[in-house]
């Protein structure tokens, strides 16, 4: 009885709100509800699917997510493998946790003050004579390639992966595996490239996958450091929802529904096609 109540409570608060929100978004996108609704229509879906804004936004979000994850994972692997002993004890073992105290919005503010045309780096470049005018400093904020967004997200995510990899290094008994490989004649490079890195990446594959999706849906950082076109998907959806043009609201819900369908399909394919992939998370 207690188990049933607990599971009903869990489903009620973890799944029902998402399902209700999704159905409301579907109804709104089909013109079945909302201020301007006038019956069932597919026009909002047609408008969304035929406009390039949505595809650009999805592509841009995926681009940012993949670049951020690649940079963060490479940095985290390098730091974990080369600083392993220092990360276990001493001041570095404490300091590595400090970046986790930065909320995304504070990291975005810090990056803005550091990288913008009137930011700290621009001032340093000016005082060193590298640039003479503010305009000569490169566009790193609100730029087309999302340099500021990538920089901020890497600052937020890399420490997390350093901690994850250094914990995995010990939990997965990698030192013993490395020792075994060395005994069998593997060189130091072979141990790193063929033992350590593959084990760490395989064991963290699920977390990496989750982070790709998490970065794709991130909001605060692209809101402050990104540009209007292209913009990351969550920013685009919220901007369309909060604009004064009421006709944009159904399109915002259509985009949200399509995004949920895409992510849901990817997760479902992985869950049923490769259940082993999720096993680490469930045990």
């Amino acid at each position: 009885m207690t188990r049933k109540i607990a599971l009903i409570f869990y489903i009620l608060f973890a799944a029902v709100p998402v399902v209700c929100g999704l159905f409301y978004a579907i109804f709104y996108s089909l013109g079945l509800t909302g201020i301007l609704s006038d019956g069932l229509t597919l026009s909002h879906w047609e408008q969304t699917l035929s406009s390039s804004t949505f595809y650009k936004s999805i592509g841009y979000s995926l681009f940012i997510a993949l670049v951020v994850m690649t940079i963060s994972i490479v940095l985290a692997l390098w730091i974990t493998i080369s600083w392993l002993q220092d990360l276990k004890k001493g001041i570095l073992s404490y300091m590595i946790y400090l970046p986790l105290a930065f909320p995304a919005i504070v990291m975005a503010f810090f990056s803005f003050q550091l990288l913008s045309k009137s930011g700290f780096l621009s001032r340093v470049a000016h005082s060193m004579g590298v640039i003479n005018q503010l305009q000569q400093f490169p566009d790193w904020i609100n730029d087309a390639y999302g340099v500021g967004i990538i920089f901020s997200l890497c600052l937020l995510i890399t420490p997390f992966f350093i901690i994850l990899f250094s914990n995995l290094y010990h939990n997965e008994r990698i030192p013993a595996l490395a020792h075994l490989a060395a005994t069998l004649g593997a060189s130091q490079n072979q141990i790193v490239w063929r033992v350590v890195i593959p084990v760490l990446l395989k064991k963290s594959a699920f977390t990496i996958f989750l982070f790709v999706l998490f970065v794709m849906g991130t909001y605060e950082i692209p809101l402050l450091l990104g540009r209007q076109d292209p913009s990351m998907l969550s920013v685009l959806i919220i901007q369309k929802l909060q604009k004064f043009n009421l006709a944009d609201i159904p399109q915002a819900y259509t985009m949200a529904v399509i995004y949920v369908i895409i992510i849901g399909t990817v997760v479902a394919i992985l869950f049923y096609g490769k259940p082993q992939f999720f096993k680490n998370s469930a045990q």
Binding site: F13, Y24, F120, Y253
Partner: protein, 256 residues
């Protein structure tokens, strides 16, 4: 040698970020191309924390919301995670916990906003707490899920075999040995709530002024000095929690 230089650079970078925010918060009249603000004093802090009570109010409101969300989430997640861990549908149920994160909290808030308006919870502290609970609760379940391992089950069964009632087993056996796991869950869900901006801003519709919302407002007003003060207040509790977490929980934590 190169390793030491890299480590030094890494350490300086972390302290630079914190020091940079503190210097801006103390500054005034920072015109381009000056490297540092022309004036550095406690005036900004004095104005924000003594003369103008709105930042204190935002800080206390954020603290109230985050502590409440963390306490309720930890309690609910502790009870439900046990039943999920012992369920034959564990993997499927746990998958639900990841939904708020893979779909982005702010997108979920956007789709749920109508229900909050309809139930008159939009723009209220209770509404923001409930919305944050939708995000923090699944996270709490993920954190506590691994705690309910076969060893814990054996301890529970042993207590029941020795005649302990179901309530006594929870209260006198499971709760004391779960202290560290519960603290960890509390800290983590507190941080989820404390860091939340998009969802809070959307459901709170500007009426619920948390510190993250205040930082955003100050940035929008181009008031970088006050934004830096609010940022400093925002990173202070997490730093304290991370230190406590590392000092007293990670070092003794063996169950998670």
């Amino acid at each position: 040698m190169i390793k030491r230089i890299c480590q030094l650079f890494f350490a300086i970078s972390i302290f630079f970020a914190i020091g940079f925010l503190v210097v801006i918060s103390l500054g005034g009249n920072w015109t381009y191309p000056a490297l540092l603000p022309a004036t550095v004093s406690l005036d900004n802090w004095r104005v924000m924390l003594i003369s103008d009570s709105s930042l204190w109010k935002a800080f206390l409101q954020s603290m109230l919301i985050s502590l409440t969300v963390a306490a309720v989430t930890t309690t609910a997640a502790f009870v439900t995670s046990k039943h999920i861990a012992h369920s034959k549908y564990r993997s499927q149920l746990l998958l639900l916990s990841y939904i708020p994160y893979v779909l982005s909290p702010v997108i979920i808030a956007a789709t749920l906003h109508f229900f909050f308006i309809y139930s008159q919870l939009s723009g209220t502290i209770v509404g923001v707490m409930l919305a944050q609970f939708f995000i923090a609760y699944p996270f709490g379940v993920i954190i506590l899920n691994n705690f309910w391992n076969p060893r814990m089950r054996s301890i529970e069964e042993l207590a029941l075999t020795l005649g302990s009632s179901s309530w006594s087993t929870w209260y006198k056996v499971l709760l004391p040995i779960s202290k560290n796991a519960l603290l960890l869950c509390f800290f983590q869900t507190f941080l989820v709530s404390w860091f939340e901006f998009g969802l809070t801003n959307l459901i709170g519709v500007g009426s619920v002024q948390t510190l993250t919302v205040r930082v955003f407002s100050f940035i929008n007003e181009a008031n970088i000095f006050y934004a830096a003060i609010a940022s400093c207040l925002l990173i202070l509790p997490p730093m304290l929690l991370i230190w406590l977490n590392k000092r007293y929980i990670f070092n003794t934590q063996t169950l998670i």
